[in-house]
């Protein structure tokens, strides 16, 4: 099932080898352990750069949005298998 959302979430990240990688996310009172970062891309919204992290745990795909102006993380898409 694929859902488009736009919820503020808490994200824990690591900074390693010059890269930032989300490791844990808290959404709807639940913690999700991120297993893989599948794709990172950025887009310009006017002068502002926004980063998107396509990540997954064992059962879900999440698309996280990092606003570099506000330093705010949002969960913008979720896909669950089945």
């Amino acid at each position: 099932m694929h859902e488009i959302i736009n919820d503020a979430v808490d994200v824990e990240v690591t900074f390693s080898s010059n890269h930032v990688a989300p490791r844990r996310m808290r959404w709807n009172e639940r913690n999700y352990e991120i297993r893989t970062v599948n794709l990172v891309h950025s887009a310009m919204e006017g002068m502002k750069r926004v980063f998107y992290f396509s990540v997954s745990d064992l059962t879900n795909y999440f698309k996280l949005r990092l606003d570099t102006d506000l330093l705010e993380w949002r969960l913008v898409e979720i896909y669950s298998d089945g």
Partner: protein, 404 residues
């Protein structure tokens, strides 16, 4: 010495990027479509390798694709994601040669004559490109690579080894290779040319080669010279490493539903005119002509063009002329599916100042609106009349909407 040209074509591009981003789509038949809000009116912009095996083809309507392959998962396209991969792809290619020509969003030509020196060198470069593609763009992003003495043969070669193949065509093998391919596999020989050739009794490359040059020129004019050359595996077209200057700027939009409502058509035409005008001002152009076209629900279409006495870069002016033009020939009894407008006969320079105070006032507001748009993006401002007119992003074969 002959040239060494690579044609690199990313396989099932949009679908592969979606499978790279979302591992739960891997190994499944997926079709990337246009707008999220109207999947059923959309077409399959790209089918995954798994979907292609089940009969789904690019540009097939979504309902037909679903009929052929009921398990097909439709995924709404995300042009921003694809454009980043396109950029990474071309950046990888530029590491190997400065002579890179972006042919579309998912394929490019590279001239590696100097860098490769010979066949082994060329294959080593091709394998290195494939490896970097996997490391930088992701393991699901694969490419077919054709290596040949010219662009025509390189493209045909990569087509022959889809998906994910690699082939080297030596100059002495070009004719033999051509003769194993269909005429319509060749880039530049479309259905119309193929029909015309068929009328002349030509359905294969050997038959095309047998036609004398004067007959080809009589039938196809200048294009006949090209047909005569490519039938012999010859193509002198250079790699165009720099993008050509824009000759026109346009936007088209397929509406979310077919409509007879002139207000709705007007609104989309005005919104498209504003987009075109913004690009003109952003890139320092003024338009000396505008063309407008419609596609009806029955897929028939009409178009018209008007040349201005004075150049313009204002959306409202473009819209007024385009609307007047359209109303001369629009059939009110037929529903409209697609609206399109293009500013053409572009030149650089400024727009003459209007004598009317109202127009002067609006012209003075435009630079401020442009600054807003530059800072906050495309949706920074809109006309009050267009508040309910929304565009949904889509992907196309040659450009990304958000980049133009």
């Amino acid at each position: 010495m002959h040239r060494i040209i690579l044609h690199i074509d990313m396989n099932s591009f949009f679908a592969s990027v979606e499978q790279q981003a979302n591992p739960f789509l891997r190994g499944k038949p997926i079709g990337v479509t246009g707008k999220r809000s109207s999947l059923e009116r959309s077409v399959v912009a790209a089918a995954s390798i798994e979907a292609k095996r089940l009969g789904v083809k690019t540009a097939m309507s979504t309902w037909e694709a679903k009929r052929i392959c009921p398990s097909l998962l439709l995924v709404s396209g995300d042009p921003k994601k694809y454009s980043v991969i396109t950029k990474r792809f071309n950046d990888i290619l530029r590491k190997f040669s400065p002579l890179v020509e972006r042919f579309s969003v998912d394929e490019s030509f590279v001239d590696i004559t100097e860098q490769a020196k010979d066949e082994l060198g060329a294959i080593a470069i091709a394998l290195e490109i494939r490896d970097q593609l996997r490391k930088i763009c992701g393991e699901l992003i694969t490419a077919s690579i054709g290596i040949a003495p010219n662009k025509f043969l390189a493209k045909l070669a990569s087509e022959s080894v889809k998906p994910n193949g690699l082939v080297f065509i030596r100059p002495q093998d070009a004719i033999h290779f051509l003769d194993t391919m269909n005429l319509q596999d060749a880039c530049g020989i479309g259905p119309r040319t193929a029909r015309h050739l068929e009328q002349l009794g030509v359905i294969s490359f050997p038959q095309l080669r047998a036609l004398p040059l004067d007959l080809l020129v009589r039938e196809f004019k200048g294009f006949g010279f090209w047909l005569h050359s490519v039938a012999r595996g010859q193509d002198r077209a250079p790699i165009l490493a720099t993008e050509e200057k824009a000759k026109s700027m346009g936007h088209s939009y397929t509406l979310r539903h077919d409509t007879w409502d002139p207000h709705e058509i007007r609104h989309y035409l005005l919104a498209l005119s504003d987009r075109v005008a913004w690009r003109l001002r952003r890139d320092g152009f003024v338009a000396n002509a505008v063309s407008v076209s419609l596609r009806y629900g029955d897929f028939g279409g009409e178009s018209g063009e008007h040349r201005f006495s004075e150049p313009t870069d204002d959306g409202l002016t473009l819209f007024r002329i385009a609307w007047q033009l359209m109303e001369q020939w629009r059939d009110p009894l037929r529903s409209v599916r697609l609206v399109s407008i293009a500013a053409s006969k572009l030149s650089t320079g400024s727009v003459p100042t209007s004598l009317f105070k109202k127009e002067q006032k609006f012209a003075s507001v435009l630079p401020a609106l442009d600054r807003l748009q530059r800072h906050y993006g495309t949706d920074a401002w809109t006309r009050a009349s267009l508040l309910s007119t929304r565009f949904h992003e889509r992907s196309s074969g040659f450009n990304y909407d958000h980049e133009v």
